[in-house]
Every structure is written in C-alpha cells, then in structure tokens.
Amino acid sequence: MKTYEKVSRKTVGEDRIAICPKFGCENVTRVKHLKLGFLGFSKYPKCKKHQIPLVYIDERIGDFVDAALACLFDLAGLPPKKLLSLVNKEIPEDLEMFVWRWVYCITIGRGAPIISQYMDSISKAYLKQLTKKQIKVLSQEDQSKKNNVYQAVRKGIQEIINQYTRLLKHLRTHNEVFTNIYETKPLSGKLRKLLLIWLEMSKLVEKDLLSIEEKREISLSETKNFYDSILNMGTCMCLLGLSPEKRMNKTKRISAFDRFSTYFDFFTNGLTKKFTKSDMEKLLKHDFSETSLKQNMQDRDLISFFAQGRKLSATIPGLKVITLGRSKNTNKRECKYIEFIDDNFYNTLTPPSDPSLSNVNEWFTDTLLETMKQYDFLKKYASFRSMSLFFGLTKSYLYDKRYKKSVISHDYLDIMRNSVVANISNLLDLDNTSEERVIEARNRLVTIIEIYRKSFSPKLTANTQIDNNLITTYFQNISTPQQAYYLGLLFADGWISIQRSSGGSTSYRIGLSLKVEDKLVIERFSKAIGLSKSRVLERDSIDLRTGAVYRMAYLQLGVGSTSQKTSMANDLIKMGLTYQIKKNGRRAKVPILPVFCDVGGHLLRDLMLAFLLGYFDGDGTLKNSHTGEIYSNNFKFLTAIKKVFNLGEVSDVKRIVYDPTTNTHSERHLYSLYLNKSIIKEMMSLDIVSMERKSLEAELIKLDAPIMTKQRLWLKKVLPIKFLRQILTTHSPSKIAELLGVDHNTMLKFMKNVYKLNLMDKGYYIKLSYERKQSSVKNKLNKIYNERTQLLLEIGERNPFNQ
C-alpha cells in the first residue's frame, strides 16, 4: 500500500495543502510551518470529522487518478461472459465486432465524464487554501527572483497538472490501441434488441440488489462484482446510443465519489487488473459451449420472456402480461386464519354439531360475551350493542343475528377479526392492563371467530346471492381458447358494476349484453360458466348515437363482495377489464390488453387470437372483402392489440353522441383498427364456437385475392379486361384515369392488383404520342385514339365516385 509523507507542521517547511484521505470528505487545510519549530497548535493536523491524519493533496490526487484508471480499464469492464454467450448463440457472426464495440464504449460507459467533477473539486479546494499573496507570486511566472518562493505549492499545482495529463494520455492510448474507427459500425437491429433485453435483465438484478436493506457481510470481491455489473450496464447503454450518466442521475445510486473511492479500495487491495488486447483475444477464443445447457435454457427463456412479455408491457402502455400455468398461493387465506389461535382454548370450545337444527349464532354471541366478561378491560364492551361496535359492526348487528339462522358471512367475520386485533392492540397502551392478559383475550376472541368459520362454512358475502352453480373460477386461469374468447367478448360488450346494499356493503355484478339476434352467444356463455340458459333475458336499449331503440339480450349475475379477493370480478379485473372514475363521477371502462404467455414467457398466440375473436364479435365488423375492423374508445388498448398482432395504424373517428337524458349531442372519439385478411383467417381457423353472424369459413378467405372496393367493382364492370387491354395499346394508364375521373394511383393499383396486367413502358406512350402528332388527324391511329377517348369520357361521366 502507498505510504504518504506524514503531514506535520514541524517538518512542512513552507505552506502546503493537506486533505482528509477519506474520499469525499471536505476537510482541506493549509498546513503552516510552526513558529520556531514548536509554537502553535495541531502539530499533526487531523481531519476534524474522521479523526485521521491528513495527507498532502498533491499526493492524494494521484490516488484518485489511479482509482479512476483502475475503474475505466479494469478487466471486469470487458463484456460479461453471460452476455457474450447470448450474442454468440443468437448472432455468432457479430461476436467479434460486438466485443470491439463494447471496448470502444468502456471509458465513457464506466463513467469517465464524471471523473472531472472530483478532480475539479480537489483542484478548487486546493486553490481556495492559497493566500492571495501566494497566488500573486504564482501568477508572476517570469519573475525569477520570486520563483523560489512557495516551491511546495508550485509543486502541488504541477502535480495536479501532471495527473490531468496522465489521465488524458491513458484515454488516448486506449482509443488508439483498442479502437478501429473504420470498423466500428452501428449495431444491427437484432443485436440492439438483445442488448436491450440484457439491460432489462441486469436492471432486475440491480433492483434486487438495491432492495436489500438489512446488514450483510459482503466480501470486497463480491462488492466489486456488484459494482462491475452496474458499471457494465453503463457501457451497454452507451452501445445503445443512450447516456450512461442519465441513468446515474436518475438513480443517484453510484455517484462519482462513490464509484472512484470504492474502486480505490479495489485497486489498493489488488482486485483490479488492466485489460490488454490478449485478454480480448482470450475472451473471443472462449468456448461458449462450456456454458451449461441449463444456463442456456434459462437465458433463452428469459430472452423470449422479455422479448415477448415484459418488454411489451414496458413499452406499450395498454397491455399487461398474464403468465399462465404458474402455481398460485392458495394457502394465504388459511394462514391468515391460523394466526392468533389459542389451541388450548380451541379444544375447550364445543360449537353445535348441526347448524341446521340449532341456533349457531346464539352460541357464537354468547361465547363471545362470556369470554369478554372474563377480562376487566373488556367488561365494558360485554353487551350486545357495545360488543357489535367493538367488533366493527353496526350496533344492532349481533343482537339481530343472534336469533337468525343464517350463518354470518366470511366478510363480516373478517371485519370482526380485524377489529379485535386492532382494538386489542390499543388496549396494550393502557397502564393497568397486563400485556399477557390482553394477548390472551385477543387470541381467545379470534379463536371463537375462527372455530365458527370452520364449523359452519359461511357464505363469502352477506348480501350477494351467488348462484351455487356458477363456476366462480372460470376466468381465474385462461387455459382454453374458448375461455379467452369469452374474455374478449366481455372486454367488448361486458361490464362489471358495483352494487351497494342498504346496509352499506358493496358487491360486484358482471354482465354481458348483445343484440337479440346474437342471444345464442350469451346463452352459450351462460352455460359455460355453469348457469342455465334461462338466466339470459331481453330488454330494449337506446343507441346513444342515433337515438334508435334496439332489442338486446343480456345476462347479469352477482359475483361476490368487493372486499372478497377471490371473485370472478376480481379475476376479470386482474385480466385487464379495469375501470376508471371520470371527472363526472361515472365509471368508465379502461381495458388493458391481457397478453397470455406461458411460464417460459412464450406468447400463446392461439389464446390471443381467441381473445381477439371474442372482442371482434363484440365490437367489430366483418367486411365483404373478408377483412375486419374493431372499435374502442380507448386508444392505448387498440395500440396494444396492434403491437401484439403487428397490425396497421389505429384510426380516430369522431362521433356525435346523443344523450336522451339531457337531450344534448356531444362529440366522442372512437378509435378503430383494421384487421387484415390473414388475421381474420387465423381467427376463423380456431376451433371455437363463436358468433355466427361474424363467422366465415377460413378456407373461403383467399389471402392473395385482391381487395374489391366499391370503386374497383365499378371499374371492373365498366372496363372488362379485354377492353382495357385494347385501350392500353393507345392510352396510358394515367390518361385513362384522367378521362374516367379516377385517381391515377387507384387506376394503376386496379390494373396491377385486380387484372394483374403488365403495363407498358412510359417510353411506349411517349413514342405513340409523338407519332400521333406527326401524322394527320385522319390517320388511323389518331382516329382510333379519338374514338376511344370519346368512349372513356362517356364512361367517366357516369362515374359515381367522381364528385
């Protein structure tokens, strides 16, 4: 380790500047010589804050540059092997170039631009310690007489300059040795994508690392690994054309001071090693097949997961990734119920064996009352009215329930349990209550509630009448295309409403409504979720846009309390059927596209197509051209669909909406997304029972057949292919278009796509035109030309599209 000259006022001779050796400490002092060699305080100046002897600044600045260089050119700064193996696997031809590009970015990526901040601080602190007299002398360089004064300060300044120059030299050498400016080309799209994925993965690791809050014993080499992984992210950001400083500013996790002071520790402990060209060659010669198969598999899974799932959700706001097939923690509720149970007390309790014969609530309330009376601090609550309030219920609830046969629901039992725990913890603060007694009381009351819950299997909620046949878990895990189809249908024409009971509790209701001609679809849905067809009803509905009245078929069902975490409504919300409260207080549907992925992160296209088909059946139209269009008032949702299925742009159509309640018209945005033939064909190929009105035989959809718009149909009628071929011998396509009053490009596309004609070269028509001009009007060519022109003009006059 480097030894510093001892800072002593006895030996300093002339003024020198010293600094606390702790990086980042602000203690900088001018060390003056002692008068007569003994008069004065602080003979060996120490840092007031850290109580460690100071070191001369000109010696210290060299350390900082050492640390900075160790950080910038450390072997660990070369591309990580894991990333290299990924690149080697995905784009082996790009591997060598990738390594060179990475090394090219190392200095900037690992934080070179922020070195100057620290050096600047030291320099300025140094200069601030100089007296005006010293500076004046220093500025008069040429006055040889005074040149001998303040040699130490002069030497210090020179040392700072030398260190700056040294840094520049190293940066330049690195540039000259490790960079081939002619070969360093921009990244390919594939490599860029791969780096983005690696960066995302590294960010997750970093996040995990930074979330560790408890103290841990971490070795210095382990710390270095953490630092390097974070710094390597900076290099990766550079390669992606991003600023590594930007990220640091954002997180403020590793400042310039942090970075280089820590690297100084690594440097002094011999953990750093400057990389050379041979290190790079070694890296390239590394056998990547050594990487275990398992690791490769993990990498691949991560790549596809990030590429298809996480990445999508990170960049597209209107979707969420639903990973299917992951085991769910169903024990959570049970665990909650076990907490605070007093086992001995539990064994003493004897709830009625047959709840249908005896009044279980009487036993329940009496047991609670008796138990409360045993504790002085609870005696005041031992009446039905007070007890109800103590348990967080309305004041007459328990008294009313006492003589009713209906079992208290899970919802209310949860409220009671939570209130006991909360109220008892407040009692702990009272002076005259023993903690043990209070805890005992809490555990006993909780035990009574839980034994009641266990013995009499209560309903989930008090007010919601959930049909016993309802498959409440139907949307919990979407595993079949049919489930995904119904989910899509609910996204389009379904809803989740909140119903408030007179008692104040709220419960969810879900519904689906379609035109009466599509009633069969709702009936099938009803059957799929375990309900009978008779639940599907009919009613009239007003179209707010036109004011017209339509007959609608609908299904509405209660699915449980809003406080219940495991209801069908909650599953739908988790899938993305979310709502937002608008300014006017109304709830507005804000769908978020669920992107179904398997555990490995692979997109499940069949499920996605089924979902889209469901949405299309609800809020879409099928066109004659075998294409389709879906609509939504949520731009982000359609954009997410567009991205997932790689479709065209989302269009915005403004609509005038009529509100019969206020008799006003207002403008609303309606977005639409065009579904091409291939996506419609894919959707129709799914083995799903869907809406007949919008179904097509997949075989009937011919992908290479031209799209026949109304204008094209008219053109086909007035310009049969034989006739058009004849005309094209004398008239250019642009002339025909002009005479017919059709757009030039429309005509060209019609000829190429519908008739598949090979059009003549422009030169042919120029030549023909020249010939016509050269010959007389009565010439045969001119005669035919004029006749055809007249004919085309007549057709053009009948053009219904020429406004």
């Binding site: 980042g24 602000e26 900088v28 590009r101 970015c105 200095t107 900037i108 070179a112 631009p113 922020i114 070195i115 100057s116 901040q117 620290y118 050096m119 600047d120 601080s121 030291i122 320099s123 300025k124 602190a125 200069l127 601030k128 100089l130 500076i135 004046k136 220093l138 500025s139 360089e141 300044i157 020179q158 700072i160 300059i161 700056y164 120059t165 840094l167 520049l168 030299k169 940066l171 330049r172 540039n175 000259e176 400016i181 002619y182 360093t184 921009p186 990244l187 860029r192 550079c238 390669l239 992606l240 054309g241 991003l242 600023s243 400083e245 500013n249 400042s255 310039a256 001071f257 422009k762």
Partner: protein
C-alpha cells in the same frame, strides 16, 4: 467540496470567490484543466451517442435561442481566430514558428504583445463556448459538432505555445481532439460529398427509368 455536482462549469463564473481566482492568471488555468477534461469526455460521449444512435433521423426539436445565439458568436469568434492564425503564420511561414516569434517579440514589441493578448483572449472565449456546446445535445448538430472539434484541436495547439506550464496537457488534449476529429470525419461525411452522392443517386435513378 461538492462531489455530486453535475452542473456546467460555466455556472461557477457567477461565484464571487471563483471569479476572483479566475482573474488571476495561472490560477485560472489550473481550474480550467478539469473543465477541459470534462468537455473532451462529453464530446467523446456525444460521438458514441451519434455512432450508436437508434434512429438515424433526429426528431426536430424546438430551436434553442441561446444555442443559436452562442453558435453565431462562436462562428464570428472562430473567424477572427482563423484570421489571427493566418497573421501569425505570416511571420515565419508556419504556425509553430509564428508562435515562437510572437512570444519572443512580445516583451519588446507592443504590437506583438497586443496580438498575443488578443490571441489569449480569443482562445479563452472559444474554450468557454466549446464547453457550452459540450453541455448541449451537440450530436443533434453533426456538422457543427465536426467544426467545433476541428477548431478545438487548433485552439489546443495555440494554448500549447501560450501556456508553457500546461503545454504537456494541451498537447495531449489536442491529440485527443485529433482522434475525435478523425472519427467524426468518417462518421459525418462532408456536405459536398453528400451532394455528390445525391447527384449520383439521382442520375442512377434517371438511367434506370
């Protein structure tokens, strides 16, 4: 000391203490060195950013009036600097010799002394403006970026002669700028070359049609 300071060095000019130090020749220069390093590395970062930018067309951003004003000032200053360099070159036929002649004559000859002072003044201002541009999104102005780096190289060369104490530093800085300039000349083809390429492309298209 503020180790987390990431603001432009120019802001320190407003600091009273800093200004007083700044006025003193020799002391000002040393503080300037860290600024020089920062400027160089910022430009290097901008080159990397330009090289690996994701989209080859930069979005049209709203014009920064201060940037444009400084750019105009910089251009006129650069012009005066080049004129000055021509005058110096005329002394001996080459720039190195010209600087040496100027330094030798400055103590005795008033005109040369004034010229030397003017040169110092211009280089100072140029460096401050070069630093200002390094803090802007300079990679969005590739042609101007190229000019700055080219000029920075020349200013370093001048400083190498004017500041003997820092000659090693400025020489090294100049070499670093030279490397940057080489990179930029490959990355950003000159406008004339671009026009030639454009014409060739057009001619090719015409021949094909």
């Amino acid at each position: 000391m503020n180790f987390h300071n990431e603001t432009s060095y120019l802001e320190f000019e407003e600091d009273e203490i800093f200004l007083s130090w700044y006025e003193v020749e020799g002391v000002r220069t040393i503080t300037e060195l860290s600024r020089q390093i920062r400027t160089l590395l910022k430009y290097k970062a901008a080159v990397i950013q330009y090289r690996f930018r994701s989209n080859h067309i930069y979005p049209i951003s709203t014009p920064n009036i201060k940037f444009l004003e400084t750019k105009n000032k910089f251009e006129s200053l650069a012009l005066s600097f080049i004129k000055l360099l021509r005058n110096i070159k005329d002394f001996t036929g080459n720039l190195g010799g010209g600087y040496q002649y100027l330094l030798d004559q400055a103590s005795s000859n008033k005109t040369e002394n004034l010229l030397l002072k003017k040169l110092e003044d211009i280089t100072n201002h140029l460096f401050i403006q070069i630093h200002y541009f390094s803090e802007q999104k300079i990679s969005e102005h590739p042609y101007f970026f190229k000019i700055i780096v080219l000029l920075a190289q020349e200013v370093c060369e001048t400083r190498k002669y004017l500041k003997k104490q820092f000659s090693g530093f400025y020489e090294e800085l100049g070499k670093n700028y030279h490397n940057l300039e080489k990179e930029l000349s490959i990355l950003i083809p000159s406008r004339v070359q671009e026009k030639v390429n454009e014409r060739k492309k057009k001619a090719g298209e015409m021949l094909k049609s």
